[in-house]
């Protein structure tokens, strides 16, 4: 502890199901100056190797863990000196970009955090300084706390925190399986799911996409999955009761719409990185983000900021052949939207029968947070957006 001139960087929670991780590579060295958003290390989790970012400017003083050492989420892994900290008594902690007023640090508290995040953290005995903030200016927001506490259920004095210097075997599919098992069992036990579905004629979408893609070079072509993400984001932005978190005994709507996409890994298991503010971004932008996420997930180069903060999740099993999916919600989220494969069906339009490509969309929602009427309106909005693809641009 060298007072307030330094701060510690803790092992971040890279998804609600992560409770430990190990640094497998430092991207910086002691003495280096780092800036907010810089990648400072590669962390190996059960699922993937993830590049972790620093959220404050600073100078690296010391690494507190060895490469290969397995530590719990929240364990300090590096100590940094604040930029300008050697200037005596200067309040050097203000982030370079001014956070919005509600996120301003309160006096005597060096960690910027939203009021909800602050309350949650104190309720759960979480040290805000040990949380990687993903909000404006690196501020800790509700989703960070939620993800962190979901990752550490109960303070069981566990033996895993004992440093294991010997490099343990690389993550095993079995370990990932057991993490998913634990998480899904919790979700199914605690969340009273209700399910709704709606068949959507995707003919308009397919025609529109084909015409658009025909005029574009291959690198700029759009996949239906990107359209689904946009449609879900717009529907979630309109029906905010489905976009947020169930915390303790009540629902807290999220401030933004961050859509996670379930991406299956060929060696088994899946990851659910998110596309931030997908409701405010263009279709091209969402497509580029999706491509980046999938590539990163498959090659093991996910970034930490993608792994937290999701407010709603999509599972798109269409590619692998299923007609529909009744998904399991990823807590603390309250909704999961599924898309099956597009298949040709006899479809009635204006009194005539036509052959149309049809996709079954499903909504799994948390009945504690919403009732079927809300879900039903959501899925109607979703269908409307998919039927008017030009609105997704």
């Amino acid at each position: 502890m060298s007072g307030n001139d330094t701060f510690e960087y803790a092992m971040p929670s890279l998804g609600a199901d992560m409770d430990e991780g190990r640094v497998i590579e430092w991207r910086v060295a002691p003495g280096d100056t780092v800036h907010r958003g810089d990648l400072i290390a590669v962390v190996e989790t059960e699922k993937s190797d993830i590049d972790i970012e620093i959220w404050h400017d600073g100078i690296v003083e010391e690494f507190l863990v060895d490469v290969g050492q397995l530590v719990d989420v929240g364990t300090p892994i590096a100590r940094l000196r604040r930029v300008g900290a050697d200037v005596e008594g200067s309040p050097a902690t203000a982030p370079t970009s001014t956070p919005s007023p509600s996120l301003a640090p309160s006096p005597g508290d060096r960690v910027p955090a939203s009021p909800i995040a602050r309350r949650l953290a104190s309720e759960r005995g979480i040290d805000l300084g040990a949380v990687t903030g993903s909000g404006p200016g690196g501020a800790v927001i509700e989703a960070d706390i939620v993800a962190l506490s979901a990752a550490a259920p109960g303070a069981d004095g566990d033996e895993r925190s004992s440093p294991t210097a010997a490099p343990a075997p690389r993550r095993s599919p079995d370990r990932m399986r057991s993490l998913i098992a634990e998480r899904m069992a919790t979700a199914n036990r605690e969340i009273p799911h209700y399910y709704l579905s709606r068949d959507i004629d995707v003919g308009a979408l397919e025609t529109w996409l084909a015409e658009r893609n025909a005029q574009r070079p291959i690198a700029e072509r759009i996949l239906p999955a990107a359209c689904y993400i946009r449609a879900v984001a717009l529907a979630a932005a309109r029906h905010r009761e489905l976009n947020g978190f169930w915390i303790g005994d009540h629902f807290e709507p999220a401030e933004s719409v961050n859509v996670a996409m379930a991406i299956s890994l060929r060696r088994g298991g899946l990851v659910t990185p998110q596309i931030e503010r997908a409701d405010e971004r263009s279709l091209d932008d969402v497509m580029a983000a999706l491509q980046e996420l999938v590539t990163a997930a498959r090659t093991g180069n996910l970034r930490a900021s993608w792994m937290t903060g999701a407010t709603i999740t999509i599972t798109h099993l269409g590619d692998s052949g299923a007609d529909l999916v009744h998904g399991v919600i990823s807590p603390p989220q309250v909704a999961l939207v599924g898309f099956g494969r597009a298949r040709e069906r006899a479809w009635v339009i204006g009194g005539d029968i036509a052959v149309r490509p049809v996709v079954t969309s499903t909504l799994a929602a948390d009945h504690r947070a919403t009732d079927g009427a809300v879900g039903s309106r959501f899925i109607a909005t979703l269908a409307q957006h998919i039927d008017h693809p030009e609105d997704l641009l």
Binding site: A214, A219, R221, L223, R267, L290, V294, T299, D319, S320
Partner: protein, 94 residues
């Protein structure tokens, strides 16, 4: 073994195209690399390797960049085997 009906140069080019296709697949799916050497060039490799629509797009993009061949969406349905893909790229001058 590429010397059947082709001149040596053309056979080499076709072998190069196969290498290029396999390496594009290995790029999007590194964990499949060990399987690629044994891949039958006449099976639907998208199905065989369980590649999804995003893998598909990424492989197509990479090959279009490397060969300069513009691959239209309407060509996708016939580009399902390594052999078909190779012939398509060879015919397009890739």
């Amino acid at each position: 073994m590429n010397d059947d009906n082709n001149s040596r140069t053309s056979g080499d080019e076709r072998a190069d195209l196969v290498t290029m296709i396999l390496s594009a697949i290995a790029d999007v799916a590194p964990e499949l690399e060990p399987e690629l050497a044994d891949l039958d060039h006449d099976v639907d490799f998208w199905m065989e390797l369980q590649l999804d629509s995003m893998d598909h797009l990424t492989v197509m993009t990479r090959l279009a960049e490397q060969t300069g061949v513009e691959i239209a969406e309407r060509d996708y349905p016939r580009l399902t085997t390594i052999a078909a893909f190779r012939d398509f790229l060879a015919a397009a001058g890739g």
